[in-house]
Symmetry: C2
Subunit: 438 residues, 2 copies
């Protein structure tokens, strides 16, 4: 048997995911070598503090604070530091040096992906980032390769485990948002400062990456409309449940034609009602899933763990072995194609169904007036349901009205809601939520 080639692997960062990647590289070295055709030698781990406590017991001599030297001597670089700098500069150095790079840095990719893709193209090496979206779930490679001969028309993703855990808790226990968030923090599903998750910023970064690959066009974070879940109330969840829906925070990328007849893609993140029988409705806890509609393939769904050190390490290592095989077999890397050139459309181009909850006076003719007003704004009502409440103390009756519309534009819907608020018979608009999957 001929001597097997050795490829040097530099690891940048040793947090939750990095520590597991290092462990697997060491523990599974023989199996990885058999699958790769080369030994993957962990040449060092760049960290800020070489004496910090780690989740995993790793050889102390691997740690260094000199990331730059480590990167310059590597065939493969794994970047798991997060944040923009120094991650960006180190990745650029690695690519220019001819190393393949694997990263899970969604924030960096969403903000500055094009620069990095171009550097990889110029150097003829691979830049892979399966771990950046939906953790362990193989989703980017299937979109890029398996669906390369198809046309994706829509992507709906539950890509943030924290918010899915919170919404699932609210759905199953009836908890308010604040209590479900506290529970998520207690269990380690949410960070002390949960802003990036609950306000949808993390999902928006992932939506940018999913949309770019799905539509062969580079979208930027500022193309993404973003609305988080902090204003979703227990009452919203209960009303949705009663109507046969579940509320999920979805990252959506969808081919559309705007009001002026221009084709484009709407990329957006917002709380969304889904029918309970939709495959995404069954995604519980901190799990992730991405639902794809393609012209030929039809409906596809990819489901699995969206976060966690070990699951995410699986995605990192899949990219690493694939890149290493390419080095062993020779031949340049294959990057995503960006020849689609479809424009990003603003949220105003999106047409979805809406769920609207109204607290109304219980008077004859109210339903007719509201229905008339919707019709005047060109918003067609699919379902209208009224429930009468009697306050036994005051003996005052009020009515709760729940409306599900057919597909309507954001603008028409907003105008309708404004007009509805102006009616004297309306006590309040209790919720306005988008509906998918109907």
């Amino acid at each position: 048997m001929t001597e097997m080639r050795t490829l040097k692997v530099a690891l940048l960062g040793c947090g939750n995911v990095g520590a597991q990647v290092a462990r697997i590289l060491i523990e599974d070295a023989d199996a990885l070598a058999a699958r790769t055709g080369a030994r993957l030698q962990l040449s060092g781990i760049a960290v800020r503090n070489v004496n910090a406590r780690r989740d995993v017991d790793l050889p102390q001599e691997l740690f260094t604070t000199d990331a730059d030297t480590l990167v310059k001597d590597a065939d493969l670089v794994i970047e798991l530091m997060g944040g923009i700098e120094p991650a960006r500069s180190l990745i650029v150095t690695a690519l220019r040096n001819g190393a393949c790079v694997v990263t899970g840095n969604k924030a960096l990719l969403a903000q500055d992906g094009p620069t990095l893709y171009e550097e990889a193209d110029k150097a003829g090496v691979q830049l892979s980032y399966e771990a950046a979206v939906a953790g362990a779930i193989p989703i980017l490679r299937p979109i890029r390769d398996s669906l390369a001969g198809d046309r994706i028309t829509k992507v709906l993703g539950i890509v943030n485990g924290t918010t899915n855990f919170i919404l699932d808790q609210m759905d199953t226990t009836g908890a308010q948002f604040a209590d479900a968030l506290a529970e998520a923090q207690r269990l380690g599903y949410a960070e002390a400062d949960p802003t990036a998750d609950v306000e949808g910023h993390d999902a928006a970064a992932k939506a940018t990456i999913l949309a770019s690959l799905s539509f062969h066009t580079r979208f930027a974070l500022e193309n993404v409309y973003c609305e988080g879940i902090s204003s979703v109330s227990a009452a919203d969840i209960a009303a949705a449940k009663d109507a046969g829906f579940v509320i999920k925070l979805l990252a959506i990328a969808e081919k559309l034609t705007d009001a002026d007849g221009n084709d484009g893609v709407s990329v957006r993140v917002h709380p969304t009602l889904l029918p309970r029988e939709h495959p995404l409705a069954a995604v519980h806890g901190a799990f992730n899933a991405v639902f794809i509609e393609a012209e030929n393939a039809g409906e596809l769904m990819f489901y699995g763990q969206g976060a966690g050190g070990t699951p995410t390490a699986s995605a990192v290592l899949g990219d690493l072995v694939s890149a290493a095989r390419r080095i062993v077999l020779g031949g340049p890397g294959r990057t995503e194609t960006t020849t689609g050139h479809v424009p990003a459309l603003g949220i105003e181009a999106a047409t979805t169904s809406y769920y609207i909850g109204l607290d109304v006076a219980d008077q004859p003719g109210v339903l007719a007036r509201i229905a008339q007003l919707f019709a005047e704004h060109g918003v067609s009502i699919e379902i209208m349901r009224q429930t009468i409440h009697t306050d036994t103390a005051s003996n005052v009756e009020s009515a709760e009205l729940r409306i599900v519309t057919h597909r309507a534009s954001e603008a028409a819907l907003a105008a309708t809601v404004e007009a509805v608020k102006g009616l004297d018979v309306i006590n309040s608009v209790t919720s306005v939520l988008r509906v998918e999957g109907v």
Copy 2:
């Protein structure tokens, strides 16, 4: 802009899938060229009868009966004829000629895959077959590439749409097998001779391919234990439903240790009970799904359309574009690795939970005697439930006993069932079914 290279694509077979592949190659030529970096020119379609009626209107001049000449002049060959010969010889000719081959021929791959993989390796070209398992669902590429750095421990697949449709019909309508089969035939989900589907042969071929890729070892069809669904009764389905289960025909490949302590893989196809809350339980109609457990990634599921001309064509074209990109970029093909060398284990090595239905005499002490007998055979009971029936005409009481065991070996279970049959208080053993997902 430089002139784009043209790659000649030969299509063998023009049935359900082939006709859609040809249509998309012609209709989407520009988009495919943009994504590939080369024009994919359909150079001809080899068929038995050039004048046969097709589902799709295609240029008559493309059709030929001379497959051999067509193959020898192609850069890429798509084989969708099915069957063993002449498909095998044509694929070998293509590979030896340096063409990349895309096929959906699961029967050929299950029977003679190793020969074909070796020919592709020798020629340094790609042999891809995503369409052979689970139609449009990207499953083989994720297993081969995305999970290349992980260790798969178990694969559970609903990989035959016909049987899933039939079992789903039986589950939702209470129909008997024969009636559900007739309905499937009426709707075009089952063929006039449904043997290959309902007896599990089609699923067994797919199990062979899934197991080979998942465990980096070439398994043969004769390593697969195979049991179809023709003996599943409406009563089995009803009893399972009542106990919170659904019956699915699963293709299973699982890492195990046999009774002698040998590690290996059990590959099997059989009707299986799944808890209703298991992700695979929600796969309805003719849809397919593959559930994977991996050491690091944890649980993953891939869901979509498992058959049909257009969805399957999507998988064929994904392989085609990927192979063509490789040709354009240069560099040899990447095949699956088979360095795992794990032995195939017989069905006797499998340990699963079992569901056992018994029709017993309603006498005191019956439950205790049966429980005692299970204990003597080392089979531990998880749930035991008795329902009493009174025949109002004869006033004779009988009892139905339903048992779910903990994990037990096939051998221990078979011995237990034999012993139970010998008891004088047993009228009949109404069902013995394996349970997964508990």
